[in-house]
Symmetry: C2
Subunit: 377 residues, 2 copies
C-alpha cells in the first residue's frame, strides 16, 4: 500500500452529535497516509490498541503514519476474540497507559474489529474519566456497526455488553484495503449488519444489496465503499436522533435479541456476532409475520439474502429438553428487557421497525419453527 492523496477516493459521513460530533472517513490507502490523521487534538503520546491477529498485518503501517503526529507511539495487543472482552483484558490497556505515564491528553487508537473497538472505547471513556480515541476498524462489521454510535462495553459472566459507556470517538477511519485480509466468515458477519439496514430503514438499499451481493462477497472496492457509506449514513441518522437509546435507536438491534441469545447460549465466540444477528433477523422477521405485520414473502426474501451472504439461517438447539424455554431465559436478561419482559425489534412494514413485546407462546412457536439440527456452522 502506497500513500495516496486523500482527495482521490475519500468519502466522508459526518456524525452529528453536537459537541461530540465526528467524521467517518471511508476509502483506500487511508492507514498508510499520515494526512488521514491531520487535525486531531495535539498530544505527546498515542497508544494503539490492537490484537495478536491484526497487529502483525497493520500495526507497523499505522505506527508509521502516527509518528508524523506524536512523539511517542505505543502499542498494546489484546488477545483476539469476544471471549476475551472482559475486565481482565481491559486492564492491559490501563496498565499500558499508567506504566508509560500517559496523561489525559493521550490519544487511543483502536486498530481491530468490534472487540478491540469496544474495549478501547470503554478504556478511553474511563481512563482518567475520559481521554480522546480514534476508531480504526479492520472488520466489515466494525466499519458499519460499532464505528458509529459510541457504544462501548465489556462482557460480564452473566451477560454480554453489560458494563460499558456511551462515548464518542474523535474520528473513524474505514480503510477498505484492510478488508482484503478478512476471513470469509468475518466478511459474511459484516454483511449481516449491512443487510439489517434494509428492512429497518431503507428497502431501496435492500434492493441494491440483493443486486450487488456477489460483488460484495468478492470484495469489490466500489461496492464495499457504497455499502459502508450507506450503512453508516443510516445508522448516523438513527443515532443522531437518539444518542442514548431512549427509543428510536433500539431498532438498530433488529435480530440482536435472538442473536444475543444464540451467542450467549452457545458460549461467546462459538458463533460470530454477525452470524447471530443474521440468524436472529430471520427469527425476528418470522416473529413480525406471526404478529401480522409482514407477509411470508418478506420473510423468505430476507432469509434468502441472508443465506446468500454466507450466514446461518437456522437457529441452533440450545437445549434438548426445552429449547424455546432456554432462548426465553437468555433473552430475559437482555439489556432491552424491562422487569423481565422481553422487547423485540420487529418489522412493522418493510423499511420500518419498532420495539414490541410478544406473548411467550408466540415466541416459542417462532423459535420452534426457526431452530433445528441445521443450526450449526
Amino acid at each position: 500500500m502506497q500513500p495516496t492523496s486523500l482527495s482521490t477516493n475519500l468519502q466522508q459521513v459526518f456524525i452529528s452529535l453536537g459537541d461530540r460530533s465526528y467524521p467517518i472517513s471511508i476509502g483506500s490507502g487511508l492507514l498508510a497516509n499520515p494526512a488521514t490523521f491531520d487535525g486531531l487534538a495535539s498530544a505527546h503520546t498515542a497508544l494503539i490498541v490492537s490484537n495478536l491477529t491484526v497487529a502483525p498485518l497493520y500495526a507497523a503501517l499505522l505506527q508509521e503514519s502516527l509518528k508524523k503526529h506524536y512523539q511517542r507511539v505505543l502499542l498494546v495487543n489484546l488477545p483476539d476474540g469476544e471471549v476475551h472482552k472482559d475486565w481482565l483484558n481491559l486492564q492491559l490497556i490501563f496498565d499500558a497507559l499508567l506504566e508509560n505515564g500517559c496523561d489525559r491528553k493521550t490519544v487511543l487508537f483502536a486498530l481491530g474489529g468490534g472487540v478491540v473497538g469496544d474495549m478501547t472505547g470503554f478504556a478511553a471513556a474511563c481512563y482518567m474519566r475520559g481521554v480522546p480515541f480514534v476508531q480504526v476498524p479492520t472488520t466489515l462489521l466494525a466499519q458499519v456497526d460499532s464505528s458509529v454510535g459510541g457504544k462501548t462495553a465489556i462482557n460480564h459472566p452473566l451477560g454480554k455488553n453489560m458494563v460499558g459507556a456511551f462515548y464518542q470517538p474523535q474520528r473513524v477511519i474505514c480503510d477498505l484495503d484492510v478488508l482484503t485480509t478478512l476471513p470469509p466468515r468475518e466478511l459474511s458477519a459484516g454483511l449481516a449488519e449491512i443487510i439489517k439496514y434494509g428492512p429497518i430503514a431503507d428497502m431501496g438499499f435492500l434492493d441494491w444489496i440483493e443486486a450487488n451481493i456477489d460483488a460484495l462477497l468478492r470484495r469489490d472496492r466500489a461496492a464495499l465503499a457504497h455499502a459502508v457509506r450507506r450503512s453508516c449514513e443510516i445508522k448516523a441518522a438513527v443515532v443522531g436522533e437518539d444518542e442514548r437509546e431512549a427509543g428510536l435507536r433500539a431498532i438498530l438491534n433488529f435480530g440482536h435479541t435472538f442473536g444475543h441469545a444464540i451467542e450467549s447460549g452457545l458460549g461467546y465466540g462459538e458463533w460470530l456476532h454477525g452470524e447471530g444477528v443474521g440468524c436472529g433477523m430471520v427469527m425476528a422477521a418470522r416473529l413480525s409475520q406471526a404478529l401480522g405485520l409482514v407477509d411470508a414473502n418478506f420473510v423468505v426474501r430476507l432469509r434468502t439474502l441472508i443465506g446468500r451472504a454466507g450466514l446461518p439461517v437456522v437457529g441452533p438447539i440450545l437445549s434438548t429438553s426445552d429449547n424455546a424455554g432456554r432462548y426465553l431465559d437468555l433473552m430475559r436478561v437482555d439489556k432491552k428487557a424491562e422487569a423481565g419482559e422481553i422487547k423485540f425489534v420487529v418489522i412493522d412494514l418493510p423499511g420500518r421497525a419498532s420495539v414490541r413485546s410478544a406473548p411467550d407462546a408466540m415466541v416459542r412457536s417462532v423459535i420452534d419453527a426457526c431452530c433445528g439440527q441445521a443450526g450449526s456452522l
Copy 2:
C-alpha cells in the same frame, strides 16, 4: 429518629448542569422520611450499595423508606475502606444487579462515604451503559465533596481514581443525623474539605469556620448545616462552570496533589483522604508563599485552623533516602500532570486559586520544610 416533616428544616442546593441538574437536600431526619424520595423516576427495583460499617446503622432505615417507592429493595455491602476501591469489589455491584435481573431503570442508592459513593456512581455509569443513582453520603467529607460534581472512580494499583467517569446523581441526600455516629477522625477529614473552600473561593467562609470550628467539632446541627450548604454552594458554582474539569474546576484540588502523594506513598487507607488533603493544603499554601503569591501569615493562619480541626499539618517521610524525590515521583503520575509536568493548585491571593507549575528545586524545598517525624498520625 422519627419521620419529620420535610418543611421544617430542609435546605436545598441546586446543582445546575442542564439536563444533568439535580438537587442536594440537607437536613435532619431525611433518611427516615419516605417523602425524601418522592419524585424520582419510577422503577421496579432499588439497589442500596453500602458497606459493613454503615449498613448495620442505617440500611434498614433507608430500606424502610424506599419500600414506599419500589417493589423490591435490594442491599449489597462492600468492604469498608479506600484500599477496597478497586475493580474486584466493583464487581460485587454488577454481580448483585445481574443475579437479580435488574434492568436499566433500576435505581442505585449509595449509602456510605466517598468510597461507596465513588464506586456506586461508577457502577451506575457503567451498568448497561448508565442507570440512575442517588447519593446518600454518610460522612461529612462525602456530603461536602464527592456528593457534588459527578466524579466517580476506582483506584488502579498504579494510581488513585485512575479509572472512572463523570456521571451525575439524580439527587443527593445529606442527612445530618447520620454524622452523630461518625468517628472523630472522619469528622476532621470532612472538615479538611470544608476549610478548603475558604482559601480557594470565599475568605468570609474561612472567617466563619474559624469562629465556629468548636461547634463543628461538637457536631452542632446548625453549624454543620451551614458548613455543608455553603461548601456545596461553592463547589456547585465551580462545577457548574466547568463540569469536565477543563480548567476552573481544578482549583477544587487545592491540597490534593501533595495529599494524593501522601495517600499513595503511605499506601491507601493509612491516612484518610481528608487527612492527606489537610496536610496537603499546608504544603500547597507554603508553595504559594514560595512563589511569592501569599505571605507567611496566611500560611500560619491556614495551618493553625487545619491543626485545630484535628488534622495533620506535618507531612510524613515517604523515603529516608530521598523524601522529596519520592513525593515528586508520586506527583508526576497525578491525573493533573501533563507530559510529566506536575500541576499544583496554588493560592493567588486569599480567596482565589489557580493551577501552576513550579521548579522542582522549589517544590523540593517546600517538601523538606513541611515533612518530618511529626508527620504521622
